[in-house]
Every structure is written in C-alpha cells, then in structure tokens.
C-alpha cells in the first residue's frame, strides 16, 4: 500500500480537544461536517489547506473511504503524544473524513491509537524531526518506509503488530469483527 501527499506539521501533545473541539463534537453528528472544524483552534481553516495536497491516494478511495473524493490525501505530521486527552472517536473520524491519509508521529496516546485503528485511520510511528511543513511524502507501508521527496531521504516506520494491520486492512474493527465473526488474533 502506497500513500502520497503533503505534510502538515504540528508539535508535541496535540490533544483531542484541538483535533476536534467539544464545541462541535457534542452537537454535530455528521463526520463530514465535523471534519470542517479539524484542528481549528491550532490552525484556522486547516480543513481547506488539506486539499492543496495535489495527487492523493484517497482519490482512488484507498485510505479514506468515507471522505469526499477529490484532491485530498495529505498527511498530518506531529511530534510526541499525538491524540492525548479525551476518548472521543470523533477525533480520528474528523481526520479521516477531512481526507487525511495517515498521521505520522513520534508517538500516539493510547485511546487515540485504538480509536484510529478501529475506524481504519492509518497511524505511522516514526521519527518526524526530518519532516517540515509542506514536504512531499511517499509512504510504503509494506516496506515500512517514508520517503521524504522534498528532502530526498528515507525514514523507518516502527512496524505495527500483525493483528492490528489485519484490522486496518479489513477497514476497521467493525468490518474485521463481521468478517471473522470475532477477533482474528
């Protein structure tokens, strides 16, 4: 599986209140609408900036099946502890429905990590220091590598356990559960 797009860089400890504020998550049920407020308190109009990514894997319907088709498919790139804070599944949902292909971070908070896998949002743990805002990235999941095309360098991804990859491949936990009639460990 190959993903491509532009990097949108964030810092350490990006919490779920920043990803999608409680102002919206309690009253808006439609994930497409939630997506419009993604990261709003950190970068205003962030949602609109995602589309600038150009060619995207999600245009082929690969990584964000629920998202609007079109020029979408960039990456969120962050530092340590991405997704800390509340258990709101609306956080990874808003990222996914905004058309973001995958999140790359040095580490993820545990509930956010589970939620993302469960709804089929790809998370990649790697050293993100060498990625700057606007860099063009190509990710090869099978090889476990991020190619930073702008800087012409390779970054190793920390591999996910096999059964988690299986859940992602099935498109999230609900589909996984239905397909295997339970957990396939």
């Amino acid at each position: 599986m190959e993903l491509k797009g532009k990097a949108h860089k964030f810092g350490d400890d990006v919490n779920t209140d920043y990803i999608i504020s409680g102002r919206y998550k309690f009253k808006i049920q439609d994930p497409h609408e939630l997506a419009k407020h993604l990261m709003e308190d950190l970068k205003s109009d962030f949602y609109k900036k995602i589309s600038a990514g150009g060619e995207s894997a999600s245009a082929k319907g690969r990584c964000a099946p629920g998202a609007k088709r079109g020029k979408r498919g960039d990456f969120i790139v962050a530092g340590r502890n991405f997704g800390c804070g509340s258990s709101r599944e609306q956080a990874p949902l808003a990222i996914k429905y905004a058309g973001v292909c995958a999140v790359l971070a040095k580490s993820f908070a545990r509930i956010f990590f589970r939620n993302s896998i469960n709804i089929g949002l790809m998370l990649l743990e790697c050293d993100t220091d060498a990625i700057s805002d606007g860099d063009y990235l190509l990710v090869n999941i099978k090889r476990g590598l991020v190619y930073n095309k702008t800087k012409n360098m390779k970054i190793q991804i920390r591999p996910l356990p096999n059964f988690i990859l299986k859940i992602l491949k099935d498109g999230g936990l609900v589909n996984h559960f239905k397909r295997h009639k339970g957990f396939k460990f």
Partner: protein, 417 residues
C-alpha cells in the same frame, strides 16, 4: 513468575499467563458509555448487526456531558440513547444522576481486581478501588458490549510511592498536579501506574479518586491503588462485599519507581493551556479571575464540597467573580443539602447547577467569554476546553478555587486552612 497488578488482572481475565508487552483477549467485568460517546456506540452496534449484547447486564449509559440538553443536536443524541436503552433493556442514568464516574462508583459496579472499560478517558478513576479501569473509544466499547471481551496490550508498570504527612491546606489534587508537572503529559504513556505509600494510605477513598482520575493526563492506561480497609468499608456502604483483592508480587517488574515527599508539598496549579504546565499557586497568586468552577469527576465529591464550603462559610465571593458549583452526583447533591453546604454556596453568591460535566467540557452551564480567566477543579485546561478557545483555564484544588473566588484573584488557600 512475579507480576504487577495489571499483569495479574489481565492474566486472570484472559486465562493466560501474561507479562508486559503481551497482547490478549480479555473478558471485561463492566463497561459503559456517556452522551458524548454513546451515539457512536449505538451506530457501531447497528453496523455490527449483532442480535445479542453479551455484556448487556454489565453495561450502562450515563447522560452527563450535556445534562439537561442545551440544544437540538444534543437532544437528538439523548433521545437516541433513551430509545436504544428501552429497546435493549439497558441501564440508563438520565440527566441529574451525575457524572458517569461518580454514578458508576456509587452503584457498586466496580470491585477490586475487576477489568473495566468506559467510553470516557477518565475511566481510570476506578483504579483507586484496585480495579484495572481504562478509557476506550466508542467502537471498542460497542465490540465489548456485543462480545463481552476486547483485546488488550499488557502495560508496563510505573510505581509511584508517595510518603509523608500532607501539610494543612494541601490536598490530593496538589499531589497529582505536582506529579503531572514532574513527569509530563506523556510521562506514563501506555503504562499502568501503581500509586502507593503512606500518604496514599492516609487519604480517604474520595481523595484517592482524584489522583487515579488524572493518571490519564500523563498518558497512563490506568492508575491503580492497593485495596485496603478504607476501600472495603467504602464498598460495604454501597452494599458490596469484596471477593478478591489483587496486590503485586514482591519482586514484580517495574519499568521505573518514582518517589515523592508529600510533607514538603505546597498548593499547586496547572496554568494554560496544558495540564503539565504546573507551578506553585504562590507563583501566580494575585492574578484576577472571572470564573471559578468547583465540580467534575476529579473534584466534585462531598469531601471536596465540604472543603470549599468551609472557606466560603458566612462570606461573599468577590464582585468580579462568578462561582459555579456542580456536585458530582445526585447523592452528593442531596447530602450537601442536608449538611447545609448548598445553602453556604448560594449565600456566598455561588450558582449550583445540575450534577454533570457541562462547564468542564464546554457544552453549557458557564462558558467563559474571550480573554477571561477561569480557575477550576477539573482535570483539563486545553485551549477551548470550556467552550471558548480565547479563555485561560487554571486547574487547582477545591480549596484554592474557593479561596480565589473569595478574593477575586488566584489565592493560596493555606491562610484559610
């Protein structure tokens, strides 16, 4: 093989001999959702298409995050929850029952040694009873409700030893804020914490909940304490007998051991906009505040209300401050009424609102305006947390918040102790 509490509880619930780092499928003793997460639980169950909810009797829903509903969108979510509960004969705690964690603890559904998951990040609160309790998202919760099980990674454990007599005017909230300031927002990511030491033993069970509640603010999976006589009598009052207690083995493996001296602590405060941005109250004292909030799953217990009311008794809050109090549950509210505490708050100029989470999560009941300074007993001060990204939230103990409401500026509460 020697084991930590987390290794023991997960081994028992998986019928396997597990060590940190292992993955396992484990049986869950209790699970729940609240009104911020239940709509997605119901949607996921619908997509799953299961006929039977295996954990039906080990599940409940609580309407607390926006109770009573402040708008049509949230009213629709509440209606969806009520309909789903009625159709599937599920337990539902409706508006006014209180914050999910307080309600579930009071219901006696969590016992030492249990494995509990909740679609709320502060589920780790129950660790103070000796349970392994952790937050999940909605899909995970739906799978748990449907199958009675879920997958777990066995966490490595950090032991935190807190010794020494707490000085006057210093509380369990100050202890945990100090620890979070020291270890940082990701200081315990994916770890189980075992809190122990003679300070913890001397605390009431309610004060212990405050510490376990905030374990997640350091990224921890759970914050466990060892069940003692106080826990046994706390549960006895709720009609529960303890069947088992889980303690770590003597030479269990800890990834690290931290020690804190409580006798040297002074009141602490988290400054905007992260929980780990901790300093002494003294360092920011004198800063004018606009809104003071006492309540939440962290500090809305009867004990917390007593501490605040002692400071506010026969006094009036400052003109520039609005004081909002939300008892954590209906039981606490009633008990506070009997004790005359509610009267004290109202006479002091405070506003007592329906038990629930409203102000803390910014859904209603006191959203600050642009540029305002809030001092709160809650557990999070992220930008926008209370509904306005242009407000500044400080977190402190109920004593510090009450003292600050009185003077109109951030105030060290020791002069009232």
């Amino acid at each position: 093989m020697s084991k930590t509490v987390a290794e023991k509880i997960l081994s028992e619930h998986s019928r396997r001999d597990l060590k940190a780092g292992d993955y396992a499928l484990s049986k869950v003793d209790f699970c729940f959702g609240q009104d911020g997460t239940s709509a997605l639980i119901i949607d996921a169950l619908h997509k799953l298409g299961v006929k039977e909810l295996t954990a039906r009797k080990r599940f409940c829903m609580v309407i607390d995050h926006s109770a009573p509903s402040p708008n049509i969108g949230i009213s629709a979510v509440h209606a969806k929850m009520r309909k789903f509960a009625a159709r599937n004969k599920l337990r539902l705690y409706d508006i006014g029952c209180g914050v999910c964690h307080q309600v579930i603890l009071e219901s006696g559904n969590v016992l030492p040694g249990d494995l509990v998951v909740g679609a709320d990040s502060h589920t780790c609160t129950y660790g103070a009873l000796g349970a392994l309790a952790t937050g999940f998202g909605s899909t995970d919760l739906a799978i748990t409700l449907a199958s009675g099980k879920n997958w777990f990674k066995v966490p490595e454990t950090i032991k935190i030893i807190i010794d020494g007599k707490l000085p006057k005017g210093v509380y369990s909230k100050d202890i945990i804020l100090h620890i979070i300031g020291d270890l940082g927002a990701d200081g315990c990511t994916y770890n189980s914490i075992e809190f122990t030491g003679n300070t913890v033993a001397a605390l009431t069970v309610d004060a212990r909940f405050t510490i376990s509640n905030m374990a997640v603010e350091m990224g921890a999976k759970c914050g466990i304490m060892y069940p003692d006589k106080k826990v046994i009598s706390w549960l006895k009052k709720r009609g529960k007998k303890i069947k088992r207690k889980v303690y770590p083995d003597k030479d269990a493996d800890y990834v690290s051991v931290k020690r804190y001296d409580a006798s040297k602590l002074i009141p602490k405060i988290s400054k905007p906009h992260t929980v780990d941005n901790v300093s002494n109250v003294k360092a920011v004292s004198g800063k004018p505040v606009n809104l003071a909030y006492i309540g939440t799953c962290t500090n809305g217990s009867l004990e917390d209300l007593v501490i605040a009311s002692k400071i506010l008794k026969d006094k009036t809050i400052a003109d520039n401050v609005r004081l909002i109090i939300a008892p954590a549950s209906r039981q606490i509210y009633l008990e506070a009424m009997r004790k005359g505490i509610i009267r004290t708050f109202i006479e002091a100029g405070g506003n007592v609102v329906t038990p629930g989470c409203g102000p803390c999560v910014g859904t209603h009941d006191g959203v600050p305006s642009d540029g305002e300074v809030v001092i709160s007993t809650a557990n999070r001060n992220f930008k926008g947390r209370m509904g306005n990204p242009d407000a500044f939230i400080y977190l402190a103990s109920p004593a510090t918040v009450a003292a600050s409401a009185l003077t109109g500026k951030i105030t060290d509460p020791r002069r009232y102790a």
